[in-house]
Amino acid sequence: MFDDSSIIVGLEIGTSKVCAVVGEQGADGALNIIGLGQARSRGVRKGEIADTTQAEEDVRNAVVEAEQMADVEIRNVYLGVTGGHIRGFNNRGVHPVVSADREISEDDVQDVIKNAKAINLPTENNVVHAIRQHFFVDGQDGVTNPVGMLGSRLEVDVHVVHGNTNRLQNAIRLVKGLQLEVDEIVFNGLASSLALLTSEQKELGALVIDIGGGTTDYVVYAGGVIRHTGVLAIGGDHVSNDLAYGLKVPLSRAEKLKLEHGCALLDGKIEGQTVTITNELGLPLKTINVEHLQRIMSLRLEEIFQLVAQDLEQAGLFDYLRAGVFLGGGGARIPQIAKLAEQVMQMPVSIGQTNSISGLKSALDQPEFFTAIGLVKFGSFKTRKREGKPSLAQGIKGALGRFLQRP
């Protein structure tokens, strides 16, 4: 009961699947994935909940499965959010240091971050993250922790991720309706990047593109900090829909064809090749040209990368990506996708790999679980910070509280 490890759960309500990942953080801070639950998602479109009842059921199934596998009871989750309404931008906050000795205190740091967060958001929007990038002390650049330094003017650059409050609340309310507490909401793209990138890669500069079912989330790190985030409400669903439209097959069949014959690039061998789709009795229904299939798919995927590339170009971040591009999400499974991305982006692209996390091999290798794993990792940072220096009183209170909470 009083063991040092803590359980952290990441819950992602995605467009194609709902997935809950249970992680265990040891006393040394090492993270171990011990459980994974997933369910096919039916109530989500483009990363946002469209059918509450079905989504609720799917979340429940996924959480129950994860509980069984990890043999724990899930009470709190870190919830991943995404959707076309989420935007990121950089902002700077300024705060004059007023204390007599001009020493920057922890309070000054809090104040300056608060100032940086106070931005003109539309009233219906809410800040999801305000991630600090660099501090400036009297205009001096590159300070990572100004506490204890002397100066008269403290500035900070933050990256603010914000989204529509109501749409964010939808997911939170749904999870709360299942008697689960939401510790924090986390932007899915940020979560994926946490799972994929090492600190070295963050320092060099890297782009993480998570191609999910309904959305494509991307995050740019440069110089160790987040420089840019974005969401495109296009994903694997669009590929299936394009195929259904172009090949004139039902959506479910298009989905299957995508998985079986899909490819991000046209390869020369498929010219004139066809597949015959059959009904449940094995009778042939329709013959489909694989070349058409791949062309439709390739164009859509190419466009996704082009849109991301355009956005980065506008933000002027292309030259900062020295570690390259990392792909995640279900879309990373598409054959040749890295090659296609390389052609569009003109830089090395690889499928991401989770690092510094141990545990279930089956979970760690799959690109579609990167976001949920990242959520656990995000949670582990928070817990570590919170439990970093617990005072004696807090420690006792915490332990007692936990004791009392158990049935």
């Binding site: 479109r45 483009k46 259904a244 439209y245 062309r295 439709i296 164009l299």
Partner: protein
């Protein structure tokens, strides 16, 4: 056909600003002239044309043409465009004389009624025959004004399109996007008037003010000629240090440009920028860069000019034209149309468009007949010939995303398969 043409040599004279006349047709057109009859349009000849004497009596413009025949007994056309057309045909020479001497003729009218819908096509033809460039600025009625007026307006629009060099059309219904629950009817009409006048003003300034980057008269002709669809236009103004950015934002939010979608779809865009003496090249560059980014496919013609009256202000007028008429059909709720007259070929040098050619000039006999109908009690409908309606083409089902919020990126609906948007053919 052209009795008076601008020779290339004449066009080369730098000092020459084209002579312009502005015609207001029908009650709506005449009242629009009142709005325009101010200093900024100095130099233009105003002509009010109407069948209704009371409307003309209230007008302050110099030249009024009262189209009158005893058959109408001093009343207006009674909302019948056929009658308006008949009178106009009768007085064709009068109209033509009024048009003489102008290089550009603006025809301003509200379609839907008798005079506006009936006279405008004839006037446009008369103006064409004098060799002038004819730009028609017309409004389509509000949907609530009834189906009949909409149909009449639509029909008249088609006729105008085939005779005028350019038609800039403002469906009044679109102004609903600009007003709220509490806007009075008066204000709504004022807004509609203002919008249309803004359009005329934009073109007017373009032609008359000294240009830093001149738009030649030829450019304007080239842009509007052979694009017989309704053009969309927007005119915005902003002032202050961030005006160039503000102007672009306003443009992209303009209801008539449908959040920039119209720009993305158009294939010719004319941008006219007007500023005070403090207009900087950097501003011009910024605005143009933004606009061109939104209409990558279009041929963009730009002009910048200085108007000293515009202190500290930056005014941008954008006219977007599209070669085929798909947009026009999508914008209007009309699905059926009647053509009262069988269509006849006309000796026009311009390419045949999908629009119906205008009805042939009536003979004296027919004219009498049409006008006499007024006297014979209830007007009978002429034998209406059903015309196959045109439906907006290629409705692409969005399948799974039919009911979700569309993903719009720079005016493109990304839910539509990429290969369709890019026009990649699957054989």
């Amino acid at each position: 056909m052209k009795t008076k043409t601008q020779t290339p040599a004449a066009m080369l004279e730098p000092a020459k600003t084209p002579a312009a006349k502005i015609f207001g047709v029908g009650s709506a057109g005449v009242s629009l002239l009142e709005v325009m009859n101010r200093e900024e349009f100095a130099g233009a000849g105003f002509v009010a044309v109407n069948t209704d004497a009371t409307s003309l009596a209230g007008s302050t413009v110099a030249l009024k043409i009262h189209l009158e025949t005893k058959l109408l007994r001093g009343l207006g056309t009674g909302g019948d465009p056929e009658r308006g057309r008949a009178i106009a045909e009768e007085q064709f020479t009068t109209l033509k004389t009024a048009c003489e001497g102008a290089d550009v003729i603006f025809v301003v009218a509200g379609l839907g009624g008798g005079a506006g819908s009936g006279i405008t096509p004839v006037l446009a033809r008369a103006a064409r025959e004098t060799g002038a460039l004819v730009l028609a600025f017309v409004t389509l009625p509000f949907v609530c004004e009834g189906n009949r007026r909409l149909q009449q307006a639509q029909q008249s629009l088609e006729q105008i399109k085939s005779v005028a060099d350019g038609v800039i059309c403002l469906p009044c219904q679109k102004t609903f996007k600009l007003i709220d629950e509490n806007t009075s009817v008066l204000d709504t009409f004022r807004i509609t008037d203002e919008l249309l006048v803004d359009g005329v003003r934009g073109v007017w300034r373009l032609l008359t003010r000294p240009g830093l980057i001149q738009i030649h008269f030829d450019d304007l002709c080239a842009l509007v000629r052979n694009r017989h669809s309704e053009s969309a236009f927007a005119s915005v103004e902003a002032s202050g240090p961030a005006r160039s950015r503000e102007v672009v934002e306003k443009l992209l939010n303009h209801p008539l440009l449908e959040e920039g979608r119209v720009l993305a779809e158009s294939d010719a865009v004319l941008v006219s920028m007007m500023g005070g003496k403090d207009l900087t090249m950097a501003e011009v560059g910024r605005v143009m860069e933004q606009i061109s980014r939104h209409c990558e496919r279009a041929q963009v013609i730009m002009g910048a000019a200085v108007d000293e009256a515009l202190k500290n202000h930056l005014s941008v007028t954008v006219i977007a034209a599209k070669a085929n008429g798909a947009m026009a059909m999508a914008e209007t709720p009309m699905t059926t149309g009647y053509l009262d007259q069988p269509t006849g070929a006309r000796g026009s040098a311009r390419s045949a468009s999908r629009c119906a050619p205008p009805a042939p000039p009536l003979t004296q006999e027919q004219r009498e007949q049409v006008l006499a109908r007024h006297g014979s009690g209830r007007a009978r409908k002429t034998v209406a010939k059903m015309r196959q309606a045109q439906l907006p083409l290629a409705i692409i089902s969005k399948g799974r995303f039919d009911k979700s919020e569309p993903t719009i990126h720079k005016g493109e609906d990304l839910d539509i398969p990429t290969y369709i948007r890019r026009g990649v053919a699957l054989n």
